[in-house]
């Protein structure tokens, strides 16, 4: 089970980072959301995986580690605030700058430069 869990977290991290490396704000926001899932699962796993061991006294024989759970609980809520801030910032950037590229301007690639000069000709 641990192997599958580790694979899933690793995969989500990879997907999240790939998306944060993209050039448009919405992809980056989606990437950040994926990353925060991965980070939360990572933190949670530091208390090790337990089945049927909720940290509620009297409910089970042995308890899972409650400390990472408390940390992750606030992390989820703060993560939401961060995602919201990032996405609103992205909207504001688009409103003020006229595009939704993370650099605030569409970078001039060789290809687009060629197309432009071709169009002029």
């Amino acid at each position: 089970m641990e192997g599958i869990y580790a694979f899933c977290v690793g995969l989500m991290t990879a997907c999240g980072i790939f998306l944060t490396l993209r050039g448009r704000t919405f992809s980056v926001v989606v990437g950040l959301t994926l990353l925060s899932y991965a980070v939360n699962l990572f933190l949670f796993a530091s208390g090790r995986l337990r089945l049927d061991a909720a940290a509620v006294l009297g409910e089970s024989e042995n308890y899972g580690d409650p400390l990472p759970q408390a940390l992750v609980l606030t992390a989820i809520v703060i993560g939401f605030a961060m995602t919201a801030f990032a996405v609103i910032l992205a909207m504001r950037a688009r409103a003020d700058l006229g595009n939704d590229h993370v650099d605030g301007r569409i970078p001039q690639t060789k290809e687009s430069a060629r197309q432009k000069s071709g169009g002029q000709r």
Binding site: L57, G64, R92
Partner: protein, 932 residues
């Protein structure tokens, strides 16, 4: 209070006096400014007899004893001599500056800087601790920067000040390194301990490095070759500053440093070679450059460089007698050079020019000043019956008795004589060119004698030159003896301060210097013509160009890393992450630990497959944004289920409600953003990014796997044991949040509130156009609020609120709590917004979300403060059990009030974000004048 401690403190206090008294007349300001330094001088005079008798005063106030830092002052012979120079000449300069500065100059500011410098310089010579000495050392650089740039409207003043600060400040850093190493070698930063451990230091392997570092500090400060060029450029300072800093005090700080550390650092071939050769080079170079200056102050500046070189050469000769000669020349140079600078200032002030090609025949206009200046420059040239003659004689004598260059040692006296020739020549030029040699040419003013009291300081100094020259041992004998004693840190050799030593070699050298100087000056036209062949190089220009190149280089370096592209920054950060996180993993022997793994079951595999597909789908379809959002929500749901599966019901509830809110938020955002992402990444970029993300994913997976398969060592047993007894709740996660780690939670809801307010501000000025249709151009449906949804959601609202109240109340003992209840409430309200629209809600639900956030954080904080009222630390919780007839036994805890604060903040923050964003889609959105 200790007298010794009073001396620097009085001067420090004196920096405020001119600022307070500048509103009165300039004379009053000058006198009041002089009062405290005069008092300090008086205190020193009071201690002087004891010091000369051989006593050494110390005072130390502990500061950080653990690292040997203390505020420690000392007064020994060397410090006494320098204190006299600093305070005595300082007082004369205060008087002189009163007449030199014009009415437009801010005299209070000037005096304040001057006294600050005086304090710094006094601190340097009186420090008894290496670090403290360095601090004062740098303070002299800073205060001299302020003084040189006093006329900040002049470009050359700014440039000169900058150059002086750069050179001396950089030298100061070398000095710091040297002093730290010195303290490390000796094991103490106390000056006396260092001076007493000369043998230990010289035998240490890092001795050469220490010597070089300390000497770089000394050479930069004392304008020794190759750092000499800053001093002529510092002549842009007002002349009182030059008379004070650039003749008597600051440039002598380097000399002082070498004399001070003489017992600790000198005595090796390395020291002698570096110090004597640098001194000799500076001595000759300064003399040569002085001869060709047309600027009066430029000549004096270069002659100062030359004389500083002479003193350095003496310090590098390695005989104790040479040190005595060096100390003697420090006194003599300070007196004649300060008076010469003041005379130059008078000439500049009364004639309006400092150019020796214009200044001619001033004897007729200011005979009295001319006489004073001529006596002083004769002292500089080393004419008998003046103080300069005596120390120069001793210098010549010492050059004959050294062997630092082995068989080439005979060269030193020859070069010394050559230097003597040069100094006679430029002194002669100062006298002849300025006061004789025809008539003045095109002077801006008709020259005349200065005000009476402007001349007094010059008179005093010139009188000293004469008296010391005629009765040397009577005037300075004791002081010289005691200063040499403390500089040597041991007995002083026999020497005689007589004017006449009979016919001997030094006298012959003096005679050659005088005659040679006359001949050089007589043939000066040929020399000037020869010199004119060299291309003129302005060190200022070269220096400024160097600085500009440095700035340009750093700018291009920074531009490479910080070019404004977020994509690039993320790339750098991620690449660095790989390096930093992969490196320690190389040391980990095996990926898997010994902790047994949970067996895999079909349900988990299904979840993992769905999550994998969801994640991959998000990446693959990321350019079709709506689809990506859907796949993302699949991932979120699986994460929720994973929390539920692995015994974290609170997390599952939180994640589920956050998931709902997040997806609604992203959908709203998508309404305003482009629906699709253009394909613009080059294939190379895609491969690069795939590589980076795969690497990091692999690393993260490895780390988490390695972590999970190793045994757990946790501090949570404490929480599990004390949750019920100490916090009164059985849901340990909730008790941690609202009780054990309540302070953290308070911080977190504050962050949440701030984020929400930030978003609110971002939204409130947003100028986005509202798309009327989707990408294909199909118009959005007019039927915004379907009846079915309206009816169902309306009846759902009380139910949802009931659930959230239940979740809130049971939170302390069962999964639930403020965070989750807050999110559920938010979802319920959002549903109303979706079903009915903003207008409809506005009439019915009068909630101010900002006030809600504020009151939430306020309640939480007040709960914490409340425990103070009962004499407990911040956020200590209280609980007890009560029973009511119908309900039965129930529990009340202060933590529940805290949780209520959390609840309100969460609801307020979530709704502030979503309601305001949603409002943008309606007629309620803010309109702008440009839109109308």
């Amino acid at each position: 209070m200790n007298t010794l401690l009073c001396i620097p403190l009085l001067v420090l206090l004196g920096t405020i006096v001119p600022l307070c008294s500048m509103r009165y007349s300039r004379t009053a300001c000058a006198f009041l400014t002089a009062a405290l330094p005069a008092l300090a001088l008086f205190l020193i005079l009071d201690l002087a007899p004891a010091v000369i008798a051989g006593e050494r005063f110390n005072v130390a106030v502990d500061w950080v004893p653990a690292i040997d830092l203390s505020l420690a002052f000392r007064l020994d012979g060397l410090a006494l001599l320098f204190s006299f120079l600093i305070l005595g000449i300082g007082l004369l300069v205060i008087l002189y500056a009163r007449y030199y500065l014009s009415k437009e100059d801010n005299i209070g500011k000037f005096y304040s800087y001057l006294i600050l410098f005086m304090f710094a310089m006094l601190g340097v010579v009186m420090s008894d601790n290496l670090i403290q000495l360095w601090v004062f050392w740098e303070l002299t650089s800073i205060s001299s920067f302020l003084l040189i740039s006093f006329w900040g409207h002049k470009s050359e003043a700014r440039k000169g000040a900058r150059m002086a600060l750069t050179i001396t400040g950089a030298g100061g850093l070398f000095l710091l390194a040297g002093l730290l190493m010195l303290g490390d070698v000796v094991g103490s930063y106390s000056l006396q301990t260092v001076l007493d451990s000369g043998d230990l230091i010289r035998a240490h392997s890092s001795y050469p490095i220490i010597v070089v570092l300390v000497l770089v500090g000394a050479f930069t400060k004392s304008a020794q070759f190759p750092f000499h060029f800053w001093l002529p450029n510092a002549m842009a300072a007002p002349t009182p500053v030059s008379a004070y800093l650039h003749s008597a005090t600051m440039v002598k700080a380097g000399i002082f440093l070498m004399a001070r550390f003489y017992p600790a650092l000198a005595g090796t071939d390395l020291w002698f070679l570096i110090v004597s050769m640098t001194g000799l080079a500076t001595f000759l170079l300064g003399g040569y450059l002085a001869l060709f200056q047309h600027d009066l102050k430029g000549l004096l500046a270069n002659s100062t460089i030359s004389h500083l070189g002479l003193i350095t050469l003496l310090l590098g000769m390695g005989s104790d007698l040479a040190l005595v000669a060096a100390v003697f020349h420090i006194i003599n140079h300070a007196t004649f050079k300060a008076s010469l600078f003041m005379a130059a200032g008078i000439i500049d002030h009364e004639s309006g020019s400092r150019d020796m090609r214009q200044l001619n025949g001033l004897w007729k206009y200011m005979p009295y000043t001319a006489t004073l200046a001529m006596v002083a420059s004769m002292a500089m040239a080393g004419v008998p019956l003046l103080n300069g003659f005596l120390s120069k004689e001793m210098f010549f004598n010492e050059t004959l008795h050294q062997d630092s260059l082995g068989s080439l040692s005979w060269m030193v006296p020859v070069m010394a004589t050559l230097g003597g020739v040069l100094s006679v020549a430029y002194s002669l030029r100062f006298i002849h060119d300025v006061f004789f040699n025809g008539e003045p040419i095109n002077l801006p003013k008709t020259p005349h004698e200065p005000p009476r009291y402007m001349r007094v300081p010059v008179e005093i100094l010139v009188a000293l030159c004469l008296i010391v020259g005629i009765f040397p041992s009577f005037i300075v004998g004791d002081l010289l003896q005691s200063a040499s004693f403390s500089a040597l840190n041991g007995p002083v050799p026999e020497y005689s301060l007589a004017i006449w030593h009979g016919f001997n070699l030094p006298l012959l050298m003096s005679a050659i210097a005088l005659v040679g100087g006359l001949m050089v000056y007589y043939n000066r036209r040929h020399l000037f013509k020869f010199q004119a062949q060299f291309p003129a190089k302005d060190p200022k220009v070269i220096f400024e160009r160097g600085i500009q190149q440095l700035v340009a280089k750093s700018a291009s370096f920074i531009n490479f890393f910080e070019n404004g592209s977020l994509q690039r920054y993320v790339y750098f950060v991620m690449s660095l992450t790989i390096v930093v996180s992969a490196y320690p993993l190389l040391d980990l022997d095996a990926t898997a630990g010994r902790r047994p793994e949970i067996p895999v079951d079909a349900l988990s595999i299904t979840g993992a497959v769905l999550l994998t597909l969801g994640s991959l789908g998000t990446v693959i379809w990321h350019r079709r944004r709506m689809v990506a959002l859907l796949t993302l929500s699949v991932v979120g749901l699986i994460v929720t289920l994973a929390f539920a599966r692995f015994s974290a019901p609170d997390l599952a509830l939180t994640q589920l409600s956050v998931e709902v809110v997040t997806v609604i938020l992203l959908m709203l955002a998508l309404f305003f953003l482009p629906q699709k992402t253009p394909k613009e990444s080059s294939p190379r970029r895609v491969v690069r990014d795939l590589g980076i993300s795969a690497m990091i994913g692999g690393i993260v997976g490895t780390v988490i796997y390695a972590m999970m398969t190793r045994p757990l060592d946790t501090i949570s047993d404490f929480f599990l044991e004390n949750s019920k007894t100490g916090g009164g709740g059985t849901n340990v996660v909730n008790v941690i949040l609202v009780d054990f780690r309540g302070f953290d939670t308070l911080g977190e809801i504050t962050v949440l509130g701030i984020a929400a307010l930030g978003i609110f501000k971002l939204i409130s000025r947003m100028r986005l156009y509202m798309p009327s249709g989707n990408e294909q151009g199909r118009a959005w449906s007019e039927d915004r609020h379907p009846l079915m949804l309206s009816v169902v959601s309306q009846s759902l609202l009380p139910l949802a609120l009931l659930v959230s109240a239940y979740i809130f109340l049971r939170g302390h003992n069962m999964p639930g709590g403020g965070f989750i209840a807050g999110l559920i409430t938010s979802v319920a309200i959002i549903q109303q917004y979706v079903a009915h629209g903003v207008d409809w809600i506005k009439e019915r639900l009068k909630l101010d979300y900002q006030i809600m956030i504020g009151s939430g954080i306020g309640i939480a904080a007040l709960t914490g403060l409340g425990s103070w009222a009962f004499g407990h630390p911040f956020l200590t919780s209280w609980f007890d059990y009560f029973s009511l007839p119908v309900i039965g036994k129930f529990e009340l805890a202060s933590a529940m009030i805290f949780d209520l604060g959390v609840y309100l903040t969460v609801v307020g923050a979530t709704m502030l974000i979503l309601a305001n964003l949603g409002q943008l889609t309606t007629s309620e959105r803010a309109t702008f004048e440009e839109d109308a």
